[in-house]
Amino acid sequence: MQFNTVLRASLLACGLCASTMAIGQEKTGNKEGFSLAPGTVRIMLMRPVIQVGEQSTGGMYEPNADWTTQARENIAASLHDAQSKLGNQITSYAETASGEEPVITQYSHLFGTVADSVIEYQFFPGNRLPTKKRDKGFDWAVGPGIASLKSLEGADYALFITTRDEFGSTGRKVLQIFAAMGGVSVTSGVHTGHAGLIDLKTGELVWLNADRQMGGDVRTPEGAQKRVKQLLEGFPGKPVETAALAGK
């Protein structure tokens, strides 16, 4: 009887913790004082990093090449539609003869890692790092080295986008159901997305929109549109939002 009480209490505690974490999570951050007016800057849209696969019963990620190709095409089309509505001049990154392709790819991966660290250590207030708590600012960067890249010359900011989708396998879904029957929370599926602006003079992250439970099935055109819309929600300098804010 006592054991049952403790067991139920522990499960309830886990549930409380999980829900507290979920409620407490922020999704957007920007550097203090940063704002963009429409039509004032040039933004380079970097090639998105897109990963799509399956989550095994044990929770491991297994990449799926076909899904990833579909998602790349769908997200590229949705971004193409969206970029003219962002308020500033957006140019898609194109390979040049600079030979900087490998380092550009590394910056894209580094952005994803920085963005994930922001989710982990800034957007979850209970998990903040004590040395970063004090100023309560938004102090994240990929470093000033990005300013010296020739292939980004002429742009003021770089817009990086990364998405990672792990669709729960049948086994994972079955596990989730059985775990729920036992009162244990098991997640099925991971849908992480980051969109962020890097200041190309300093390498600082000035705006980020990121979430680990994004909507939209990126394998379909409609889902990719939903995902892109969510990624670019609150994009700085977007005319509609600027007008809406001015009206407040």
């Binding site: 309830l12 913790c17 990620y61 580094l110 890692t113 994930d116 998990n127 470093g143």
Partner: protein, 194 residues
């Protein structure tokens, strides 16, 4: 059930407290990684609440994916460096009683290949070194994890003392982060005591 709820709140509150990352202030810090390892940082660090093993402690400045100091404090013979996440399919190599100091980088390498799905890892340099007067090895390495594909560089110092492995490593993305905090790590390892 009322009691169950009360216990839940207490357990929840205490686990929240346990979850908090701690400030490492400048000055001496003993019993690192629940071992006899101590260090005296001259600046602030954050100690993560997460533990990757019984005798493993993580310090960071910006998050463990961006800069990470890992203290392996006296891993005994027969134990792996990190807690095994999939013992059956991806068992980790264990500390051996007959290990030479040159086996330490190789142990880290094979551990990473299993635990982090690291496809590319190279031990770049290795040289004899002293860890608080004990014969050891200092080495550098580079690796890329399959999950984020970020090229990271690392540096470590380790020794077998009293049949246990003591190892301290620093890792960060090669772009920007590694150089940014390398000097802090170099200063930190000069203060290590056993």
């Amino acid at each position: 059930m009322r009691y169950a709820f009360m216990i839940a709140v207490i357990v929840g509150a205490s686990s929240s407290a346990c979850l908090a990352n701690a400030l490492i202030s400048p000055g001496p810090h003993a019993a690192i990684a629940q071992s006899r390892l101590s260090a005296t940082p001259d600046g602030q660090w954050n100690r993560l609440s997460r533990r990757d093993g019984k005798n493993v402690e993580l310090w960071t400045l910006d998050g463990d994916s961006l800069n990470k100091v890992t203290f392996f404090g006296g891993i005994p013979v027969g134990k792996p460096l990190l807690r095994e996440i999939d013992k059956k399919n991806r068992p980790l190599p264990k500390v051996m009683s007959n290990m030479l100091i040159t086996d330490i980088p190789a142990l880290l390498e094979s551990t990473y290949r299993s635990q982090f799905s690291v496809n590319q890892i190279q031990i770049e340099t290795q040289e004899p070194a002293l860890l608080d007067g004990n014969k050891g090895i200092r080495f550098t390495y580079a690796f890329t994890r399959a999950d984020d594909e970020v090229l990271r560089k690392g540096e470590g110092i380790g020794a077998m003392v009293g049949g246990q492995l003591y190892l301290v490593t620093y890792e960060a993305p090669s772009l920007y982060f590694f150089e940014k905090d390398l000097e802090k790590f170099h200063k930190l390892i000069t203060t290590l005591k056993l």
